[in-house]
């Protein structure tokens, strides 16, 4: 009887713990990752304050969309935030993952972004991103690969009607910089 009482008392905290664990495991892809932007090394022109804010907002949205797309094997989240070659490649990646029965979960711990090129006409910006990512490749719930790494990316963003979209996103070895 006493054991039953203890079990009943333990149920609510257990549900809370399970909920938190579920959110941590499954909910992280829905969170916008933090993006810190530096424009000290940008050429040939300075980046306006409003553009900096827009780049941080939209680059973060793009990573959020990428993480959601890769964990759910859905191409829909990519369409608003990516364009051009980046959209083509990431769409193919999602389709291939789906075909191979895999999915990728990225726990995104944030991005330190350095703007390195901003075109004279303000239509394109190139970013060098140091991303802290925990990557898991899964088959169903089986983890086939897991790593925690700082990965360098080069991203080219171009202005669209109401936002900046990622046109190129390419991981590069750290030795390249």
């Amino acid at each position: 009887m006493k054991l039953l009482r203890i079990l009943v008392l333990m149920l609510p905290p257990a549900f809370v713990v399970c909920g938190v664990v579920f959110i941590v495991i499954h909910g992280r892809a829905d969170v916008k990752p933090s993006v810190q932007l530096s424009t000290n090394n940008v050429r040939p022109r300075a980046v306006e304050d409003t553009t900096q804010a827009a780049i941080m907002r939209d680059y973060s949205s793009a990573w959020q969309a990428l993480n959601v797309a890769l964990v759910n094997n859905s191409t829909a989240p990519l369409n608003e935030n990516f364009t051009g070659f980046a959209l083509e490649k990431l769409t193919q990646r999602v389709k291939d993952q789906r075909g191979a029965g895999l999915k990728t979960r990225i726990l995104d711990h944030g991005h330190h972004v350095d703007a390195i090129f901003y075109s004279r006409d303000g239509s394109a910006i190139e970013l060098h991103d140091t991303a802290s990512l925990e990557t898991q490749v899964l088959d169903g719930s089986t983890v086939l690969h897991s790593d925690n790494a700082q990965i360098q990316y080069l991203a080219v963003m171009t202005g669209a009607a109401d936002r900046w979209q990622v046109r190129v996103l390419e991981s590069v070895p750290a030795a390249q910089h």
């Binding site: 006409d121 990557t135 190129v168 996103l169």
Partner: protein, 291 residues
């Protein structure tokens, strides 16, 4: 004796466990390149599945462990960080590796503006992003040649790309016309046209005279209007004629037509007429009684 056998059994168990864990070890190339064939070495025995998870694609092969797996060049498109996974039984092995972009084969060339006045310092900007044939950004430095010319006369500048981008600021030439703005890397060339148009009228060339003088009307007409490089200012450019007399000021905005602009102003016994276009002031005419 029994202890010795126990130790031996323990060592054998550990050895077996270590060997099993090493069963699907991966050997990956250090310098894989997009579009080039690649060999993945495996150890162990039995059947397995090899997954290559790349930035823009996933490759899956059923393999036999213990041999080399050939990945064809046409399979490997994406440059960047890949993850190779060998799955046999319940013990997948994985490793990250890098694939470099291939040689540049296409350029994304942004040339701005499409129309520019002649003889303007650094008024034209050219930006090139370099891609290989698989649309990977080519990050290794490459010499990019920019040439801006009208009727074959112009200048060439070579810029080394950095992080996949090369850019220049160029001045427009002295002659109007369709300037060919060409960016080249190796044998790949992309051409844009920048229309160079006459600049603002030159103050020396903005001169007018009285073409007709009637009882109640004066017709004033300019000489052919040119910019300071001698190019005719395009038709449609606005020229303002201002007549000032004791009754006040009359202004007529006329467009250049066939190189000239002209206006009809009210006749006045004594007036000053000035002409201007944009920020350029021309000559003044002083009309007195009897003129």
């Amino acid at each position: 004796m029994r202890k010795l056998l126990l130790y031996a059994a323990f060592i054998l168990t550990c050895w077996f466990a270590a060997d099993s864990a090493r069963g699907a070890e991966l050997r990956l190339p250090e310098n894989a390149t997009a579009g080039q064939p690649m060999t993945v070495g495996t150890s162990g025995q039995g059947d397995a599945v090899l997954y290559l998870v790349g930035p823009g694609q996933v490759i899956k092969h059923n393999i036999k462990l213990g041999g080399n797996v050939q990945i064809k060049g046409e399979e490997l498109h994406s440059a960047g960080r890949w993850i190779a996974i060998v799955r046999s039984g319940s013990n997948p092995q994985s490793q990250a590796f890098w694939v470099k972009p291939a040689q540049p084969e296409s350029l994304s060339f942004l040339a701005k503006p499409s129309r520019v006045p002649v003889a303007q310092h650094n008024a034209i900007s050219g930006t090139v992003f370099l891609f290989d044939k698989f649309r990977n950004l080519v990050i290794q430095p490459e010499p990019v040649s920019f040439n801006l010319a009208v009727n074959g006369a112009g200048a060439t500048q070579s810029i080394t790309s950095h992080e996949g981008v090369a850019w220049i600021d160029a001045s427009s030439g002295p002659k109007e016309g369709a300037a060919q703005f060409v960016a080249s890397v190796g044998s790949t060339t992309v051409r844009r046209v920048v229309q160079q148009v006459a600049s603002e009228p030159c103050s020396g060339s903005l001169r007018m005279h009285v073409a007709q003088h009637e009882k109640d009307m004066i017709v004033v007409q300019t000489d052919p209007i040119r910019d300071c490089s001698g190019n005719p200012v395009p038709d449609g450019t606005i020229v303002s004629f201002i007549e000032t007399d004791k009754s006040g000021k009359s202004t007529v905005d006329a467009r250049i037509k066939k190189g000239f602009a002209q206006a009809e102003l009210p006749a006045s016994s004594e007036a000053t007429i000035s002409v201007a276009s944009g920020v350029t002031l021309g000559n003044e005419l002083h009309l007195g009684a009897g003129q």
